[in-house]
């Protein structure tokens, strides 16, 4: 088995760290499986959103409460953070020092928090306009789906901080490397979910 053969989907450690590459095989597959399970949760919430969409109950409509400009900005921020996390992964794989790795992780963290801040501001605006979850089934479905993604981003940010601390404490040992591979998958997965949210929730909401 050559050192360049993939042991799991996604970025492999390859020749840079043979021993960890072997361990990463089942560790990363396990995380992929978790993501698939998580994807089922999101799929069902999307389906529920679709079912609940007509349940306006004479309350606010999607077109009336969604701010597409803000959602677009959030999309750009999150996509950029995925790019910066990619740079962090490459630094983890190829760099000997930790400077660039920590730098890119810090940029990712800032972008993640910026995304969360904007999203919370959007929610506050919606509440202010009478669009709160107890108002109608449609809003219930919205506030189950979109904040759950936000909660994932929040947990991802906590995880980023924990790993940055661990890089400082332990250096790049096998477990830290594997956890960076996993967090990378998680972060990119949240991007994909967000793209679905942007398309299914926000863009569809423009159709009044």
């Amino acid at each position: 088995m050559s050192a360049n053969e993939a042991r799991h989907a996604g970025l492999n450690l390859g020749v840079t760290d043979e021993a960890t590459r072997e361990q990463a095989g089942s560790a990363v597959l396990g995380f992929w499986v978790f993501l698939m399970s998580d994807a089922v949760v999101f799929a069902l919430l999307f389906a529920t959103y679709g079912v609940m969409l007509p349940g306006i109950a004479s309350g606010p409509t999607p077109a009336a409460v969604y701010k597409i400009g803000s959602a677009f900005m959030e999309t750009m921020i999150l996509l950029t953070s995925s790019f910066t996390f990619g740079m962090a992964s490459i630094a983890m794989k190829h760099e000997t020092g930790y400077g660039r790795l920590l730098g890119w992780m810090a940029v990712t963290l800032v972008l993640g928090l910026a995304f969360l801040g904007m999203e919370l501001r959007d929610f506050a605006t919606m509440f202010g306009n009478g669009a709160y979850p107890t108002r109608s089934a449609f809003l219930s479905a919205f506030f189950a789906l979109v904040p759950l993604h936000g909660l994932h981003v929040f947990l991802g940010s906590v995880w980023l901080i924990v790993i940055m601390v661990q890089v400082l404490v332990f250096g790049l040992d096998a477990r830290v490397k594997i956890n960076i591979l996993r967090l990378g998958l998680f972060w990119h997965f949240l991007d994909i979910v967000w793209i679905a949210i942007f398309s299914v929730v926000y863009l569809q909401g423009l159709i009044a």
Binding site: G25, S26, L29, G30, V33, F34, M36, S37, D38, V40, V41, L44, L45, T48, V51, M52, P54, G55, I56, A57, G59, P133, T134, R135, S136, A137, F138, S140, A141, F143, A144, V158, V162, Q166, V169, F170, D173, R175, N179
Partner: protein, 694 residues
């Protein structure tokens, strides 16, 4: 309790939440039974604590079992949990049968509300805290051994899964003592379980117990799918795995994809109840039918999560006790996978009457009947395996035979129910109750009991009493037929399920027979406990240290009984199916290894018990609106996970010398054992070494 500081500290708890207080105020039979059940939980807990303290076994229990990451010990703990919960839920079933037999044109001895709690806990426990732990336990114990691995892919996660399940089961037990359980059935349908109709703590107990359990099961599925994909011994190709491992793989995949719908259903119901959302309410656009879809998107695959491992056990047992290679191995693997895939395409048959179009019902009805095809293939394969084999009627084999007969009857009534026009007639009647018990008792319970008898000598090192095994078997089978065949008649005659009082005297004889059947089933459980007690007492006479009491076929029989912590002193090399059966006939086993190496195993961890306990405490806080406990619990879980991620000293090494010594001791025991022919395998002559017929 509703003034001053109390609501902040105790949430919505008050003294009338205790069944003792209720029984004191209103001493009816129903309340006294409730208080009696609560006392059993309290006294049971106190006796257990006192006994462990008196024996001085806390340290042993904590370091050898509770914090262990050994898949074998985790498996055993799951099965212990399953037996405890089986006892409770079976007693509840007996109470319900007695009530219905008693309540013909009278109110009986159990109040309607109490009766509703009984059928809700009976169903929830049997599915989530008896069946799931039992099959998870067997999979845990057997799978790594059969694929030639030293442990699962994620040992710590395995312990967390166990303790989430344990914490959830604990919450079920607490609901007997503090407050009341849901009256909404095991499926918890809204809008009845919404705040508008059930403002009490009952549905909340159900929501959080089921949610904790389902998260545990999702993680178990993840763990075993990765274990089976990545941890197989060299040469153990997918098509060389035992059929039990195949069913474990399919069950794991089903858990990964089918448990999330349940988590979503219960989480959305919780949002409705706690934060006033409108998913399933009757107003403001809520749609309870969406709940039925979400719940059964889980619920139907769940049926196959339960049944497939039993199919795996039967495949092992039938092949071993017929001394024949499994007939139609390839067709069995394909059938297993086909069932796993089809199980996602039939969920609507649980609510044909919900109002969707006839076309949709027809599609799901046909899909449902299709599942009968791969299942039929399996039954034929097992029959062909026995054909011209030397069948030995040991206890596991008896369960397998009873399963084949009984399961086919249940399958036929299933095909009847798959026809929407017929389903409309018997929907929500005892016909349905008879059908699913007819599937799950042979299709799960008999299978797990067969597996329990089959692998018990491997796990504990001695055989179970054959005589009491047969008595228990007889009771399980006779009891089943007596208890459930009458329900078909009653259901066809129109008796609704979950009925607390009966107004048709013509039902009386059938209800009496069913009641008698329930008592026989209770005797069956008692016989199992007697068997366990006697077998432990007579263990020295029934040791099978050499490890192969049944002339077994899979790798798990090629090591000592009980196996060492690391399973295999040297990871075996696999050359084909039934590697041990073929190999021992070529003299390939029972030899010392050329070299022994140091073995690295995970250290014990208290992460699992802490997460399970704190998770259950947080869930209890959610049930009673004790918000400080919820916040503390969630923070403690997050903190535990982060703290554990900083732990680096998580492995310990077993030196090669110790491995070699252990192996030598076992090989000496093998050399001292007398090989026996199959005719006397159920006698004390069986020391775990099979005579190789030439």
């Amino acid at each position: 309790m509703s003034q001053g500081i109390w609501p902040a500290v105790l949430g919505r708890f008050d003294w009338t939440a205790l069944p003792f207080v209720l029984a004191w105020d209103n001493p009816t039979a129903s309340e006294i039974i409730g208080a009696g059940a609560a006392s059993v939980v309290v006294i049971g807990a106190v006796v257990a604590v006192v006994l462990i303290t008196w024996l001085g076994k806390w340290k042993y229990l904590w370091s050898e079992w509770l914090t262990s990451l050994d898949h074998k010990k985790i498996g055993v703990m799951y099965i212990v949990l399953a037996f405890v919960m089986l006892s409770r839920a079976l007693i509840e079933a007996v109470l319900m049968r007695m009530q219905q037999a008693d309540a013909i044109n009278s109110s009986g001895f159990i109040a309607p509300d109490h009766f509703s709690q009984l059928f809700s806990t009976h169903g929830s426990i049997m599915i989530f805290f008896m069946a799931m732990p039992f099959l998870t336990g067997v999979i845990n114990y057997v799978t790594p051994l059969q694929i030639g691995a030293r442990d699962v892919a994620f040992p710590l996660l395995n312990s967390v899964s166990l303790w989430l399940t344990g914490g959830a089961a604990g919450l079920m037990m607490v609901s007997l003592v503090v407050g009341r359980f849901s009256t909404g059935g095991w499926s918890g349908y809204p809008p009845y379980t919404e705040l508008a109709f059930s403002p009490d703590v009952g549905p909340d107990y159900w929501i959080w117990a089921v949610t904790l359990g389902s998260i545990g099961s999702t993680l178990t599925g993840l763990n075993f799918a990765v274990t089976i994909y990545k941890m197989r011994a060299p040469g153990m190709h997918l098509m060389r795995m035992t059929l039990f491992v195949w069913t474990a793989l399919c069950t794991s995949i089903l858990m990964i994809f089918a448990m999330p719908p349940l988590t979503v259903a219960t989480a959305l119901l919780a949002l409705d109840r706690y934060l006033g959302f409108h998913f399933f309410t009757s107003d403001l656009g809520g749609n309870m039918m969406n709940y039925a879809n979400l719940f059964w998107l889980f619920g139907h695959p769940e049926v196959y999560i339960l049944i497939l491992p039993a199919f795996g056990v039967y495949s092992e047992v039938v092949s071993t006790f017929s001394s024949k290679e499994l007939y139609g191995y390839t067709s069995l693997t394909i059938a297993t996978m086909a069932i796993a895939v089809l199980s996602f395409t039939v969920w609507v048959h649980h609510f044909f009457t919900m109002g969707q179009s006839a076309d949709i019902n027809a599609v799901f009805g046909i899909a449902t009947m299709t599942i009968g095809v791969p299942t039929g293939v399996k039954i034929y394969d097992w029959i062909w395996t026995m054909f011209r084999g030397r069948v030995r009627f040991t206890v596991p084999m008896l369960y397998s035979l009873a399963f084949m007969m009984t399961f086919v009857i249940g399958g036929v009534t299933g095909i009847m129910l798959a026809m929407p026009p017929l389903d409309f007639l018997v929907h929500n009647t005892l016909f349905l109750v008879a059908h699913f018990h007819n599937m799950l008792i042979p299709g799960l319970l008999y299978g797990m009991l067969a597996g329990y008898h089959y692998w018990f000598p491997k796990a504990l090192g001695f055989r179970l009493s054959e005589k009491w095994g047969r008595i228990a078997f007889g009771c399980w089978v006779i009891g089943f037929y007596l208890a459930f065949m009458p329900l078909y008649v009653l259901g066809a005659a129109g008796m609704a399920r979950r009925t607390q009082e009966v107004f048709e005297p013509a039902f009386r004889p059938w209800l009496y027979i069913a009641g008698l059947g329930a008592l026989v089933l209770l005797a069956a459980l008692a016989a199992l406990f007697v068997q366990l007690w006697l077998s432990i007492r007579e263990r020295e006479a029934n040791r099978v240290t050499a490890g192969d009491p049944w002339d077994g076929r899979g790798l798990e029989w090629s090591i000592s009984a009980p196996p060492p912590e690391y399973n295999y002193a040297v990871i075996p090399q696999v050359h084909g199916r039934d590697p041990f059966y073929a190999g021992k006939r070529k003299g390939e086993f029972y030899a010392p290894a050329a070299h022994y190496h140091d073995i690295t195993m995970p250290k014990n961890s208290m992460t699992g018990p802490v997460i399970g306990f704190v998770g259950a405490a947080a869930a209890f806080g959610l049930v009673w609106h004790i918000w400080w406990l919820v916040i503390l619990g969630v923070l403690a879980i997050v903190g535990t996970v982060i703290a554990r991620s900083f732990a680096r000293d998580v492995h310990r090494t077993i030196p090669a010398a110790e491995v070699a010594w252990t192996d030598m001791m076992w090989l000496q025991a093998v050399a001292d054992a007398t090989p026996i022919p199959r005719q006397i395998e159920t006698t004390s002559a069986n020391q775990g070494l099979a005579e190789i017929a030439t």
